[in-house]
């Protein structure tokens, strides 16, 4: 699956990270695995900081992520 990062998270991890996780997995699993592989991003990736999206829809922590999904993590918005 492709993970898209924005703002501060993109500064730390780059715009895109490809991740392979055993199926089925959830948003929480993706978050945990990304933080494990990239410890520098762990604080910013916390559920209290970064909102998760699957495709264009906001996703809860227990939402199921499938292999071809695009998952995005949004740090707090700055606004325009």
């Amino acid at each position: 699956m492709i993970i898209l990062l924005f703002g501060r998270l993109a500064d730390i991890l780059g715009r895109e990270v490809a991740l392979s996780l055993p199926q089925p997995c959830t948003v929480a699993d993706v978050r945990r695995e990304l933080a494990r592989l990239h410890p520098a991003s762990a604080a910013e990736l916390a559920a209290s900081r970064a909102r998760a999206f699957i495709g264009d829809a906001m996703a809860r922590e227990d939402a199921v992520v499938r292999d071809g999904d695009e998952v995005a993590f949004f740090p707090p918005l700055s606004g325009g």
């Binding site: 924005f6 703002g7 740090p75 707090p76």
Partner: protein, 155 residues
Amino acid sequence: MKARLRHHPFVPGDELDAFAARLADAGAVANLTGIARARSRSGALVRGLFLDHHPRLTPRSLDRIAAAALGRFEIEDALIVHRCGTILPGEPIVLAAAGARHRKPALQAVHYMMDRLKSEAVFWKREDREDGSEWIEPTEDDRSALARWSEQCPG
């Protein structure tokens, strides 16, 4: 109604002329241009702003704000033009405009769009200063400005 995300500098006057030319029966066009400042809140020199965006959700957030202004005020049309990418001090970041038969709803619509843009537009803004870089989050002032519109029209 038009909301446009621009990757390169734009000329607010040109956008405004084109917008005004499309209006059929307006007696007023109100607008605001937001410009990148040369100094940060702390007074440090700013080299530039970087506005990160989402390819689909950012344009959608601009559309939603312009459409909300059109639905809420007695205006004929609304326009939002917003930059993304690297913006140098002095360059326009955003233009919000509204055309109406009368000035009051046009001015209110611009004010409303700007308040919503400041908190709800899907952007991540990094200030690149001479003394370092910092990602910016909405201020309490931005949040209270937005809340004022909800108080004026509950629900």
